[in-house]
Every structure is written in structure tokens, then in C-alpha cells.
């Protein structure tokens, strides 16, 4: 069994907000002039991470099923003269890199996870096994356009971040991962986000052999 305490849980559920509106709403979370080329997911993550002062020895675990959907769509649309900027922005860990490059904040360990049904389980397990005293767990999606119509992108935008540590002081929640005999288990990112956003408890098998219990103070 692995237990950790949740600190500074932050969520953002902007529904169908445009990227221009997101950029304007969250401009204060970024150094001046740094948001012009940021994606909506980068902006949303920068927003929820804004008061979590990430340090070099923190580990960051990032979870997203689709990640940089809009950059991916626009990069594909740029063929036969592919855009170099959209190419580099379309890679899976780009949103976090946008945020930390804007802050010029190095970090030793950064684990960008993807997947779907067991994504939450594996991201939380990575966080729980990290050697760093504090682990920042974050994730989210941006809503797609033509890829969403093909069920190849998220229909909703959302983002979350929290810090995990062994320190109970000031914690707002508690997380426990237990080994089980269950051969199955799943928890997708939108459902985990809803639990964080609504401060709802969770107790279920989230992957083969792994049970998650999330409680709130």
C-alpha cells in the first residue's frame, strides 16, 4: 500500500471557451509576452500550476489522453508545407514544456503519461513511486475540432494540478494505492478530473491489481 497526501488541488473547467478567451483570462499566470504561441492546453495547465511553485527537485507527472489536439490538427492541415512551430508544439509533453520554458524552470524528473482506461492508475503510480519529496501531478485536455468529430480528440477542455507528498500538514485530501487480486480496473481522466473538481471521494479498482481510494478533508 502506498499513501500520499494531496495539497493545493486546482482545477479549471472552461467548457467551450475559445483559446483567445482562455489566453485573455489567464494572461496574468504567465510572464509578459509568453502566451502568444501557447496552446489552450498549455494555457490551462499554466493556470492551474500558477501558484504551485515548481522547484527543480520536484517531480512532475503529467496525464493526457489526447494532449495537443489543436496543434496536431493545424500541423496536419499545414501539409504539404508542414509548419515547424506546430510540429514541435504537437508533441505529447508540449503543454508542460510551454509552461516551464516560459518560467525558465528546470525540473529533474518529468513523466508524461498517455493512454485511456488505466491512464489515471499508471500516472498516480508513477507519482507515488517517484523519489522526489514532492510530486506535482497534473493533466487535462483541450477540445478538438475535426479530430473530435472522428472521436480522435476530447470533446471537452479541462485541466487539474495538485501536489502529492508524505506530509499531512495542510493537506486537503488523501490518496491510497493498494495491491489487489483484481484482474481488471479502469478510471479515465475525465472521471478523475470530476472527482477532483467536485471533491468527490473515489474507491475502486483502477488497473489490474491496483485499487485507488481518494478521500477529502
Amino acid at each position: 500500500m502506498i499513501e500520499r497526501h494531496l495539497h493545493a488541488v486546482r482545477t479549471d473547467a472552461p467548457a467551450d471557451e475559445s483559446i483567445a478567451a482562455t489566453r485573455e483570462r489567464l494572461a496574468g499566470a504567465f510572464p509578459r509576452g509568453s502566451t502568444r504561441r501557447m496552446t489552450q492546453l498549455g494555457l490551462l495547465l499554466g493556470g492551474v500550476l500558477s501558484d504551485l511553485a515548481t522547484g527543480e527537485e520536484d517531480a512532475i507527472v503529467y496525464a493526457s489522453t489526447y494532449a495537443e489536439t489543436r496543434a496536431l490538427e493545424d500541423y496536419l492541415a499545414s501539409f504539404p508545407t508542414p509548419s515547424p512551430t506546430l510540429f514541435q508544439t504537437s508533441i505529447h509533453p508540449s503543454a508542460i514544456q510551454q509552461v516551464l520554458i516560459a518560467r525558465q524552470q528546470p525540473v529533474r524528473e518529468f513523466f508524461p503519461h498517455t493512454g485511456r482506461d488505466q491512464l489515471v492508475a499508471h500516472a498516480l503510480q508513477s507519482a507515488a513511486l517517484a523519489a522526489a519529496p514532492r510530486v506535482i501531478v497534473c493533466g487535462g485536455e483541450e477540445h478538438g475540432t475535426w479530430l473530435a468529430e472522428q472521436n480522435a480528440a476530447s470533446p471537452h477542455a479541462f485541466a487539474f494540478a495538485f501536489a502529492l507528498s508524505v506530509d499531512p500538514a495542510g493537506a486537503v485530501g488523501h490518496l491510497r494505492l493498494e495491491s489487489t487480486d483484481s484482474p481488471t480496473g479502469e478510471l479515465a481522466l475525465p472521471e478523475f478530473f470530476n472527482a477532483l473538481h467536485q471533491r468527490s471521494p473515489l474507491s475502486r479498482d483502477v488497473a489490474p491489481g491496483l485499487r485507488l481510494t481518494l478521500t477529502w478533508r
Binding site: Y66, L76, F79, I101, T114, Q118, Q125, L129, A131, P208
Partner: protein, 383 residues
């Protein structure tokens, strides 16, 4: 229950993790075939139009046998990949005690490009990371305990570290790290747009040219990790792993090379008493190659440095695992391939252009780098 403070970040591994099995797939074939080709200084890279059937500039690509560059339905790389998976040890992969860590930077993104190009919706079955991994899981008979990680060209190293931690905490009996990246117009078009995939062939660590060039290559590999049983001393042992992310610029490193040194700082003490050689990243770009070679020569002046992307191309998120499999074969065969495709003068005197015997060494440092100034390294010990 784990309640105490976590161990120091990036400390050398408290117990040896055995590299129980490994193999790879490259344009030359499996690890043994690839190793032999590298010893013979052969290049797999050949020139192809960057946009495949849509034409474009010729660029150096190393495509695996059976892989059509313009994506098909199902993807033509699926059969060669199944051939690699057929060589996995017979364990119940994807169940609770036998986790799989899939790593890739591309997954089936070539299928998204093909969908956009042709409108054929059948490509979409392979177009997202989870969909691609689900196809592999069904095809290879794995259970659902498959963690998926994607961090550009250090992806495979992250899989190795996560698998190691699962074993160290007793959460797994054996762990499989499986990585695959197949080149498509999507990724070649991107690197061509960045102007580093061009009409030149890569010459890793060479200071002779004025233009840096990379090649891209198909690559897939696996590594089976296991705890060292009952105090036994396995033949190949992962004894240190380390990461660092500069977060300085998307496509450039800090100009003083500090990111390369920061990654290796936690393992310097461990390596101080070892006689080892270095399998570097060595893509063929000038600035990163200069920084990498200079930093490694400064930190480890007696360690020969080799890189194989001048022959195989850059196998992207899978490069760390592909090159680990080749290292394993080099140690088995007793000969280390030199840096293929390069020419003096080099950025450092440590660059080895010719093959050399492995018997004089007791370890190998493997390094990889990625977008965002990401750095990763692991140390493989052997007797």
C-alpha cells in the same frame, strides 16, 4: 506501507536490476543483424522523398523491411513489430504482476496523416496513442496493465526507470519495456521543416561540416527487467538511471551545456571507479553534438564515445531501448561498433570511429536527449 520520506532523487539503484532479455528491430533486422552491420560500418540510411507519394526533397531514412513509408491499413509496420514481439519471453504480460511499459514518440501518428491525406476513416483506428496500444495489446495477447509514456526521444528511458521502480517496490515480478517508432511523412515533414532533416547524411560528433544533418530510422525494441534473484549477480545489470529537463528552449539546449552535466551529476560518484564506454545520443546536429561530446569528455575523459544514428538514423522515442539492445549484443559478441558515418576532426578526442573490444570495460553509459532540453542516462554494469 510506504510512509517515510522518499529516497534521494536519482540515487544509484539500491539493488541491481537485471536486464533479463532484450532485442530490437531496425532497418538491418534484429539486434544481432544490426550489430553485425554496424561493425561493418554499413549505413541503413537511404534517400526518400520526404512526403512519400506526395514527393518533396530527398531525405535520409532507414526503413524496416516490410514497412511502407506511405501508411497502409492496417499499418505496414504492424507485422514486423509482431515479429519482434514474438521473441518476447513467455510471461503473462499486462497482468498485475507483469506490467508492460509502452513508450513511443510517434505511436500511429502516420495513420492520422494518412487519414488527413486520403479521407479513409479506417486509418483512425491507429491514429491515437491509446488506440494504437490497444491494437498491440490485442495482437500480442497482453492484459490491460499497460502503462504508456511519451516524452519525445527520451521516452524509452522513462519506461526503463518506471519499470525499475515497480520492481524495486515489489509491485512486479518481471516488467516489460516495449518501444516502437516508425517513420512517416508526419514526423519526417516536421524535422525537414526544422531544417535538420535535409539532403545531408548525419556525421555524429564531426566538426568537419558547417551544416548539421540527421537521418530518421524505424526502430522498436524490448527489455525485460527482473530483480536480481537471491543475491545472484546477473550478467547485465542496470545500476543507475538519471533524468534532467532543462526547460530552456523547445529545440535548443543551454549554450553552456549545463543541462548535459546536470543530468549526469547524480551518477558521477557511481561511475568514478568504473571502466566504461559511452553510447551517446549523437544525432548529427552540430550544436547539440558539440555540447554533448564536450561535456562527456570533460566528465569522463577516459571513456570512449560512440553513436550509431549515422547508420540507423534517429529512431526517436525508441532510440534508448533500440541502442540498449545493440549494447547487449555488443557485450555478448565482445566487440563494440564505432561511430558509423562520421569523419574527423571530432568535437572530442574520445569519439571512437572504429570498433573496439568490450573486454577492457565493466560498464556502459547510455545517454539520450530530446526536445525541451530533456536528458536521460542509464548505466549498464557487466562482468
Amino acid at each position: 506501507m510506504i510512509r517515510g520520506a522518499p529516497a534521494a532523487v536519482n540515487a544509484p539503484l539500491p539493488s541491481s536490476i537485471s536486464l533479463a532479455a532484450t532485442d530490437c528491430l531496425t532497418a538491418f533486422g534484429d539486434a544481432r543483424q544490426t550489430h553485425r552491420a554496424l561493425l561493418e560500418s554499413r549505413r541503413a540510411l537511404a534517400f526518400h522523398p520526404v512526403l512519400g507519394g506526395d514527393g518533396g526533397d530527398p531525405v535520409p531514412l532507414a526503413l524496416a523491411a516490410g514497412h511502407a513509408y506511405d501508411e497502409t491499413v492496417p499499418p505496414s509496420w504492424l507485422e514486423p513489430l509482431a515479429g519482434l514481439a514474438a521473441r518476447l519471453p513467455d510471461d503473462p504480460w499486462g497482468t498485475a504482476r507483469f506490467p508492460v511499459f509502452v513508450t513511443s514518440s510517434n505511436f500511429g501518428v502516420g495513420s492520422l496523416h494518412a487519414f488527413r491525406r486520403t479521407g479513409d476513416a479506417r486509418h483512425l483506428r491507429y491514429g491515437t496513442p491509446f488506440a494504437t496500444v490497444e491494437v498491440l495489446r490485442e495482437r500480442f495477447g497482453w492484459g490491460p496493465n499497460v502503462a504508456v509514456v511519451s516524452h519525445a526521444c527520451v521516452s524509452a528511458h522513462l519506461g526503463l526507470l518506471l519499470a525499475t521502480r515497480s520492481l524495486e517496490r515489489g509491485l512486479a515480478t518481471r516488467a516489460l519495456v516495449f518501444s516502437f517508432d516508425f517513420v512517416s511523412p508526419f514526423v519526417a515533414g516536421g524535422f525537414h521543416a526544422l531544417k535538420i532533416l535535409n539532403a545531408g547524411l548525419p556525421a555524429p560528433y564531426s566538426a568537419a561540416g558547417t551544416t548539421g544533418s540527421i537521418g530518421l530510422g524505424d526502430g522498436a525494441a524490448f527489455a525485460v527487467l527482473a530483480p536480481a534473484a537471491g543475491g545472484a549477480r546477473p550478467a547485465l545489470r542496470l545500476t543507475a538511471q538519471t533524468l534532467h529537463n532543462e526547460m530552456h528552449h523547445f529545440t535548443a539546449n543551454r549554450s553552456d551545456g549545463a543541462g548535459f552535466a546536470a543530468c549526469l551529476a547524480p551518477v558521477q560518484t557511481t561511475l568514478a571507479r568504473r571502466r566504461f564506454w559511452i553510447k551517446g545520443h549523437g544525432t548529427g546536429t552540430l550544436e547539440a553534438g558539440r555540447l554533448e561530446a564536450a561535456t562527456l569528455a570533460r566528465l569522463f575523459p577516459s571513456a570512449p564515445l560512440v553513436a550509431w544514428k549515422g547508420s540507423l538514423g534517429h529512431t526517436l522515442g525508441s532510440c534508448g531501448l533500440v541502442e540498449l539492445a545493440i549494447v547487449g549484443e555488443a557485450l555478448r559478441a565482445g566487440m563494440v561498433p564505432g561511430t558509423v558515418g562520421t569523419e574527423p576532426p571530432f568535437f572530442s578526442d574520445a569519439v571512437a570511429a572504429e570498433p573496439f573490444p568490450s573486454r577492457d570495460y565493466d560498464g556502459v553509459l547510455l545517454t539520450s536527449n530530446a526536445f525541451g532540453g530533456a536528458h536521460a542516462a542509464c548505466f549498464l554494469s557487466h562482468d
